[in-house]
Structures are given as C-alpha cells and as structure tokens.
C-alpha cells in the first residue's frame, strides 16, 4: 500500500496514512467475515469488533490531525456501536431463541464471489476518479466504498432481520470510515446524528420482533410480504 505523491513518484506512506489504510483493510475483511458467518451471534460479535476498529481509527486521527473533538466521537461510537447495540441485539435474540442465520438467496461461496466482484469494482472505480490530495490516504477511501457496497450485498442476499440490521449497521461503519479519512474536519454533528439513526433502527427492530414474533416465531424477512403492489 503506497501513497503516490503529487509528482507521481511512489513514496513510503506516512505513519498516519499507513494506519488509516490498514484499519480500512481490517474493516473490509471483517465485513467479509460477517458475510460468511452462519451464526447470528458470530455476526454480532464481528460487528462489535468492526465498530471498535473504526472507533480506534477516530482516536488515531484525533491524535494525528490534532482534532480533539474526534475523541468525543471515538468514545461515543465505541460505547454505542461496540458495546450497547450488540448487547441489545443479542438480548433480543436470546428471547427469540434463533441461532442460525436464515439461508440466503445465494450460497455462501457465491455470496463471497459476488462481494469480491462488487468490492473490487468499488475499489477501482473510486481509484479511477483520482480524488487525491496531499493529506488524503486515497486507498482508505476506496476501501470504505468497498465496505459500503459489500454491506449492501449482505442486506440484499440475507433473508433474516438480524443480518439485515447488521448489514445496515456495518454500512454505517463504512460511511464513518469514509468521513474519517476524507473529511475529518467535517462537523461532528453529522456523525452523531447518524449514530442516533442506529438507535432508532434498534428500537423499530425491537417493535418488529415483538409484533412479528407473536404471530410467526421466525426472524425471516421472507414472511414480511403482506405489503406489496
């Protein structure tokens, strides 16, 4: 992973850039692990790990760019995304006693292959846009877009509410990653507002579990078909 300077000569990456790119890579790998894990509990753990990694990146950037307000974001996002949300979801899941993710629309192997294709597309498409600047680790941006695209695959091919919510939550991680590497100086309130969206998704998720579970004891979205046309 090399950064290209303005002159086009390949240079060794700075510590900051190296960290950002490494973290982005780890986030993408965790996304793939979520895609292949069959146990819902494992998916939730992977999501918690991914959130923790993104929170650490926020702290690193807060230090590297001397933006103290990002420490707030780091702490908040760790508390919410790595601790609270996974805990609430696994509690709700314990009540419903479902353990295995519903079978997806595709087999796991095909899912992974589709995702590799999609992630590669995202990676190179963003790379081809030549969005460069001296302070921007552009590999991290491409990786963040790849994370977002793979999370869409996760939401589309899986047919249970837990996988879909985890897909959305990890989409949020991908967007956070992009905002941290591209626009660290961007107003903090955006990130915080998006964290609230997660909480509301959890609340609606809870209502859905309650009303839906009363009638059919499954978490499969294949039953959510009464509204159409």
């Amino acid at each position: 992973m090399h950064a290209t300077g303005t002159t086009g000569v390949v240079m060794a990456p700075s510590v900051f850039e190296g960290t950002a790119s490494t973290v982005a890579m780890i986030v993408l790998l965790l996304e793939f692990l979520m895609l292949r894990s069959a146990l819902l509990r494992a998916q939730i753990r992977l999501y918690a790990a991914q959130s923790a990694v993104v929170s650490i990146l926020a702290a690193v950037i807060a230090h590297g760019r001397s933006l103290p307000e990002l420490y707030v974001l780091a702490v908040l996002s760790f508390a919410l995304k790595a601790v609270l949300v996974p805990w609430v979801i696994s509690r709700m899941m314990r009540d419903s006693a479902t353990e295995i993710a519903g079978s997806g629309a595709l087999g796991v192997a095909s899912e992974v292959i589709v995702s590799i294709g999609v992630a590669t597309f995202g990676f190179f498409a963003v790379g081809a846009l030549h969005i460069h600047s001296t302070v921007l680790p552009s590999a991290a941006l491409s990786l963040a877009v790849a994370v977002v695209l793979v999370s869409f695959v996760l939401m589309i091919v899986r047919r249970d509410v837990i996988s879909q919510s985890i897909g959305f939550f990890s989409l949020e991680n991908g967007v956070s990653l992009a905002s941290l590497v591209v626009a660290a100086g961007m107003p903090l309130i955006l990130e915080v507002a998006f964290l609230f969206d997660l909480l509301v998704a959890v609340v609606v998720f809870g209502i859905l579990m309650r009303t839906h579970h009363r009638h059919v004891s499954s978490l499969s979205t294949a039953d959510l078909t009464s509204l159409r046309g």
Partner: protein
C-alpha cells in the same frame, strides 16, 4: 424577522412538550395553537424574504426555503385540527389510560416531526440539511410503528432500513461535497450555502458530480424516486392518517429540498446540463412507474401514495428543464401538492375510519354515507389530476410550458403523456369505487365524519382553488425569487 424565525423553530418543540404531559383536549389545543402560530409566523416572514434572506446563527432562510416552510406550516395547522377529530375516533377503541398514553405519544411525535421538517429548510449548510432530514426519518419511523400492528411494524422496518441506507448514501454525498469544498476553502469550513455557491466555479468537477449523483440516490430514497421508492407506499398506507398527510405533502418535499441545494451547487460548478440530465432520468422513470401503478390499485391509501410518487417525478423533471418558468412551476407545485395531497389523504382517512377498510372494492356509496368527505375527496383527486381551475393545473402547465420554451421538447412531451396516463388511473379508480353508487341500493347508515375532520379538508380545497384562480402578488414575488435563485447557478437569467 430573526425573532420570527427563532420562534418558528421553538413553538413546535414547546407544543410537543406540553402535549406529552397534559391529557385530554389540552394537548390538541396546544398543537392547534402551535400550528396556527407557525403558519402566521411564516406569513409574517414571507414578504421580507421577498427582498433577501433572513440569517441568524446557523439559520438562514431564503426564498427557496420559504416555499418549503410555507408548505410544511400550512399542513401543520391543517393536520393539527384534523388530529383532534381523528384521535377521538381512534381512542374510542382503547381504555382511557391506554388512550391517554397513545394520544401523548402521538401528539409529541407529530410536533417533533413537524419541527424537524421546519428545521431542515431553515438551516445554513448541506451538513445541517442532512441532519434535519435525518431527524425527520428518526421521528417518523417511530410514528409509523405507533399503531403496533404487524403491518405497521413491517412498514416501519422497511422504512427505517431503506431510508437509513439512503441517508448513508446522502452522507457520502455530503462528504464528497465537503472534500470538493475543502480543496478551495480549506479544511475548516462548514458547507454553508453562500460560501459554497460563491466558490462553486472553482470546485473540482469530479467530486461534485459524484456528490450530486449520490445525493439524488440518497435523498431520492426519501423523496420516493425510482428505484428506491419501495418503502413509500407501505409507510404511507400503514401510518396513521395525519402522519400519512405530513409524510406525503411535506416530508417528500423537504427531502427534495435537499436535492435542490445540491443541484444549486452542482449547476454552478459543472453546469445545469449534467445536473438536469441526472434528474431527468430519475424523474421520467419515477413518473412512469407511478403512472402504471396508479392504473390498478386496490388499496385507497397506497393509491394516494403512488400519486405522491408521481408528483415527485414531476418535480424532478421540472427542475431538469432548468429554466425560470419551469422552476417557478416547480416551486408552486411544492405548495399546491402539499394542499392537494393533504386534502386527499385527510379525507381518505375519514373514509377509512367510516368504512373500516382501506380496500377500494369495499368502499361503495360514499356519497350517500359521508357526503362532505366524499365530495372533498373527489375534488382533491380532480385537483391532483391537474384539472382546472385548481392550483396543480397551473403549476403543471408552467412546468410543461417551461420545458417547451427551454427546447426540451421530447422530455416535455413524455411528461404530458405520462401525466395523462396517471390521470386515467386516478380518475378511473376514483369513479370505480368512491364515486360509485351503493351496492344493491343500500347506502348503510349515514355517518359523516365530525367537523374537526371536515373543516381542514375544506381549507385544503379552498387553497387549491384560490391558487388556481389567482396568485397573490407577494406569493408570486417569492416564487419568482426562488426560481431565480435556482436558475442563476445554471447560467440562466431571471427571464
């Protein structure tokens, strides 16, 4: 005038707080008073915005914002009155304790929701607009689920998941726009409109293009543009009726406002051709889908929801024409659609309560059972079909005229064609069920909705009629300024 603006953003919060603590009529009284006060404040700000902007702190209101504020505050007042009657019928089915709790939550939610929709057009900067639209999602998703039925939970789940993903994409759009701006303005700026528009010419083109496409897809999710509209009919149909009216008349428009702000910057950076082209593609596909779905709908509220999708398609196409006449039509369309869809949804809600079904096949003889409600519903549908003498006829006529005079002849012709298909769907479905006579000559007991539910609909119909026959001078001035602000970035003159 800055005082008016601050008061406008405080009143719904206060009303929400009051309604969440008191019981009985006091909650409704607070909400109605807040609705009327907000409408009055917007009217007071109206003329002064005709000549410039109102700015204080992070708030900034110009002519474009004003149009959306008027639409929302009008619906706020109308829906507040309607809710008083609507909840009376709903609460009759619950115990008094559960009823009080339901009413408190409901009114708190409605007030907060309106607050968020007044906040989004009043703030200065793309980042804050995104935050405003985000808050509207948070509040309205919980409100959609408030009835606690299985269908409501399913609709709320689809809504929160799809809209949140859309907002994630819209946040990416904001990030790219921030990146583009940071190349010229440095790392510490806050995406405020005057700054961005003043330097729009120097922004790097590629990130701005990318940001615009992402914004159209992301915010388009909340507008209901094809192919990311799928949550919309579910949420509109399953939400309580006062909320359906606000979602359709106001929320979709406010989300469209966010796209308009991106449009302004993009048109100033890379020209209106690119931005217009993107909107044209999405607009035509949206309109096509909605027109086809309108032809065969069996559920009354889904039917109106697809009509909203249709009108959002018209807005997108109107902006893509990019000349001042079409943009004037678009701005007027935002207002008349709020009145038309408000009237249609509110009277449909009364019909649904009266007949206890949303299925059009079971709604017959409405004119005999609920003469006032059925008449206002049919008038509102005529207005939504863009029949003269109602306001939507005027706005759609202007959009099409703008399209032809900007030499977008083919697109304007497609627009006329698709609007006609939608007209057939709207008219045929209405005459088949609502306007049809009673089955086997038995009209059933006559049970008109209470006055709280009839008067607000009459207000909507009167506004539609008024704006169709006569455009008051100050209103024309602000609409003209809004159209000018939107077209100036694209290099068009004021016309």
């Amino acid at each position: 005038m800055t005082g008016c603006l601050i008061a406008l953003l405080l009143i719904p919060l206060v009303a929400g707080g009051v309604a969440a603590t008191v019981r009985g009529w006091a909650g409704h009284a607070a909400t109605i008073a807040a609705g009327l006060a907000c409408l009055g404040l917007v009217a007071a700000m109206w003329t002064s915005v005709g000549r410039g902007t109102i700015a204080v702190g992070f708030l900034r209101v110009d002519a474009v914002s004003m149009v959306f504020l008027l639409g929302t505050s009008f619906l706020y007042a109308v829906v507040a009155v309607y809710t008083a009657g609507y909840l009376r019928a709903e609460l009759a089915r619950r115990s008094s304790r559960a009823g009080t709790r339901y009413q408190r939550r409901f009114l708190l939610g409605i007030n907060l929701f309106v607050w968020a929709m007044l906040f989004a057009p009043s703030v200065n900067g793309l980042a804050l607009v995104w935050v405003g639209v985000e808050i509207t999602t948070i509040v309205s998703a919980v409100l959609v689920a408030i009835d606690d039925t299985e269908a409501a939970a399913e609709a709320a789940w689809k809504y929160v998941l799809i809209a949140s993903c859309g907002l994630g994409i819209a946040l990416l759009a904001t990030i790219f726009m921030y990146y583009a701006g940071a190349q010229v303005l440095g790392q510490s700026y806050d995406l405020s409109f005057p700054q961005l528009l003043a330097h729009a010419g120097q922004l790097p083109a590629t990130p701005v293009r990318l940001a615009f496409v992402l914004a159209v897809i992301g915010f388009g999710t909340k507008v209901g543009l094809f192919p990311v509209h799928t949550w919309l009919p579910d949420a509109h149909a399953e939400a309580p009726t006062p909320l359906s009216a606000l979602l359709s008349g106001s929320l979709l428009a406010v989300s469209f406002y966010a796209i308009l702000r991106f449009y302004q910057v993009t048109a100033a950076t890379v020209g209106a051709g690119f931005a217009g082209g993107v909107l044209l593609v999405f607009g035509v596909l949206t309109l096509l889908l909605a027109a086809l779905y309108l032809l065969d709908q069996r559920n009354l509220k889904r039917f109106l929801a697809y009509s909203s999708v249709e009108h959002m398609g018209i807005l997108a196409i109107g902006v893509s024409f990019g000349n001042p006449i079409a943009l004037f039509g678009v701005m007027l369309h935002v207002l008349v659609h709020a009145a038309g869809k408000g009237g249609a949804f509110l009277s449909a809600g009364a019909i649904v309560q009266g007949f206890r079904t949303k299925q059009l096949a079971h709604i017959h003889g409405a004119f005999d059972r609920m003469p006032w409600t059925a008449s206002t519903f049919v008038i509102a549908i005529f207005a939504l079909c863009a029949m003269p003498p109602f306001g939507i006829f005027r706005s759609e006529f202007l959009v099409i005229q703008g399209g032809f005079s900007a030499h977008h002849t083919a697109s304007a012709a497609v627009l006329v064609l698709l609007v006609t298909v939608a007209f057939v769907g709207l008219a045929a479905t209405t005459t088949r069920s609502i306007a049809a006579g009673p089955v086997e000559g038995d009209p059933g007991p006559r049970q008109e909705a209470n006055a709280w539910m009839v008067v607000p609909v009459l207000a909507c119909v009167l506004v539609l009629l008024l704006l169709g026959l006569w455009l008051p001078g100050p209103m024309g001035e602000v609409l003209h300024n809004a159209a000018f602000e939107l077209s100036v970035g694209g290099g068009h003159g004021p016309g």
